[in-house]
Amino acid sequence: MESAQRTTGKNKFFHSIGFRLSASIGAVVATFSAALIIAAYLVFNNYTVSSARRQYQETANTVSANYDNYFSSVISVSNCIASLTYNLSDLTASKDSLVNEFDSIMAVKSDITGLALYQYDGKAYYLHDSTSRNVPTNVTGASWYQAALVNPTLNVFSRGAENVFMMSKVITFNKGEDSTVLLVTVSSVATSIYQLDLGTNGKIIIYDKDYHAVYLSSGTALEDAETTLLKQGVIGFSQVSFGGHNFILSQFTISNTTWRLAIFQNFDAVTQTLQRFIVTTILLIVGMIVASILVLFLVSRSVTKPISALRSSMEKVEEQGYQSYEPVPLTGSIETKDLARNYNEMILRIKTLNEDILAEQNAQRLAELHALQNQINPHFLYNTLDSIVFLIDDGQNKEASEMVVALSRFFRISISKGHNIISLSDEIEHVRNYLLIQKIRYKDSFEYSIDVPEDLLGLQVIKLILQPIVENAIQHGLLNREGVGKIAIKGQMEGDMLLLSVHDNGYGIMPYKVQDIYASFVDKNAYNGVGLKNVYQRLKIYFGDKADVRIDSELDEGTTVTLKIPVKERKINEE
């Protein structure tokens, strides 16, 4: 039974209040924190990251629009020249006016380093170059020339060396009847189109539809990883990781060209902010969980420590008995203090009760022994029987008969079927028989009276409380006295207290002797040899502290022993 209820070791820990408290509230805190971190992440991501992303995309859109405008301006140069030549009937003849026009175009657009017109046989009508670069005079094999002829309605953009690019277009002259090929050479895709901080490793790439780089704002060639990213996106916006950095990759088509534009904008600042935010939040939450578990642990300890003390005290008491009990200290919360206080009181009460029971059992054993000794006192019996024989021999048959009857009654009540509690009338009857026997035996050397009102006779008292006192009165007070001794037994109520007194008119007791007797009542080891202590202790056991035995004695006048019995406070029921 005990081993089934007791849990030990690891199990004990998991079933402890401390663990349960910490685990349950820890779980609540963890769940709440997880919800918090998710909510915070969502909010942060929604409002901060996505707004940052939008901002980056807007920037990219602006850059894209600027490139559109840039290339459109190159095309507008082509359109402008086309409308110039349309009405010219002879390009060679109009060279001077064209030179003026070309000069003014190149003055306005400093990026344009060369303008040239070629005949269909690849020969130059006209070359104009602001650089010392060698402008080709025969171009029939050039790819830009071929491409222009294949798509006469298109402005064909071609890659040149490094960041130089060329635009070629078939344009008409002589009212559309003749055609020429225009070549516009542009020194560089203006890096200064948009002064933009793209961040670490950020770059602008212009590439053709076969993913060959036309222009790189940094670096010399497209890396394979970059090409893969460009092919994944094609057009639109994406967030990519590349070379240990995060980027917003924005891809556009460039108007009126087959080229495309890619802008890598370093997004690390935002993603790092996000990561830092998440790390900070997680750290905070872990700290919160640890702190709350710590606090819970301390709180639960303050609850469980007094309880543990209580438990170990209980175990000690259980194993070693009440003797080992030491009061449990009152610590912790109000509840645990109350618990400890109540426990202490309870144990003290149990201890007292237990000691009472033990004492009562001892006293009863002594009383029974004493009674038994009295009952089977051979002298008492011999003397009584001798007295009876004497009476019979003397012919006093009536007295003999009375004495036999008294002896019989005396023993009957002494035994009283093993009951300890008897009615006051029985107790009186018992002492009356005793007095009767002793009176006959001592040849009427004393007289006695019993004065107990009728209405008290039904009260319940413990048996054999008067006889030892009467015996003392006869033995020590009356025998060897001159004259007739008197013994008066009285019963009366004083409030709830039943007073039974035995008065004798003997020698009396010396006052110091009275104190000795009183002292012996409470001294465990003392035994005064008279039945008084036995009676005193039994009264205390049965009727509590209010019960008492008083001795009033006056030398040569007599002694009164009074039993004070709070009859209504009987503490021990008849077993």
């Binding site: 095309i75 359109n79 309605t153 009212k175 559309g176 094609v234 057009i235 639109g236 088509t253 108007s255």
Partner: protein, 338 residues
Amino acid sequence: MKNKWLAFSLLPLLALSSCGSLSSTFDLFLYDESDTFIKSLKENILAQFAGDSYSSNLYYAARSQSTQNEQILSSISRGDPLLIVNLVDRLAASAIIEKAATSNRGLIFINREPLKEDLANQSKCFYVGSDAEGAGKLQANLAEQLFPLADLKAKKCAYDRNGDGVIQVAVIRGEEGHQDTELRTKWCTQKLRDDGYDVSILTAEAGNWTPDGGYSAMKAIAENYYAAADASKANVELVFSNNDDMASGAIKYLQEASILKSDVALDQQPIQLIGVDGTATGRDLIQKGLMYGTVLNDAATQAKDIYTLGKAILSGASLTNFQQFDYVAGKILTKSNL
């Protein structure tokens, strides 16, 4: 209570089923809202599809290819299976095709023709548009009705105002770089020459498809090549406009300059105009005797072709019978056959 829970549990299903209906959604991307021909083409297309239970989304790019790119991206990511695209920039087609191919979307380009090389090897990409070269030639045919070759050679043609046996022509060009601009401009005069006409192209002015562009182009033409006082001078006699919208702008200018009169018959007008598209505006001008004729850019037939093709794509039917480039021939429209 039970019904309530049932309704709640059905919500996701409803959402799913509404997603499912997207499979019959097509998206129409138009380069600009104000273009009259595009407007009528759009109406024809929607009318064609109206009989079926397809839903559609309509986007206008306001002449910005990057705007159109974003619209197309959103459509592709939404999963719509068919995109009908009137490009802003025909050269953007390659990127759009590449993007659409990654998710197997059907693409029909309309009005603005992508490069042949961009559509090569694509099984779900098509073009439906007008036959621009044919339209130019039909414009020439209209001119031949006004200028019968024999009369012109004999210098008896009434519309040959200076009687020199040569047609003085000016051209109002559409948007630069648009294939229709180049081809219509080239073939309206080329065809006349091929047929034996003497043509003098006085000038070609850019009008960018719009009435306003046509207005300023006509102004430039008239200021340089028309003097009402001197009939013997080589004044402009015939204006080819690449579309009706520019022609309407041109006519507006000519009316304001009192060159075209509102109270005389067509043959009394000093300058004849021939447009392309056959829009309501153009027809109205013909009706009023302000424009001789136009070449119908056959929006109805194009819309019908787009519908047939689009339905095949949406229903997952075989596409092998469709030409990748569908050039719909134009039709001559004059007052006599309106």
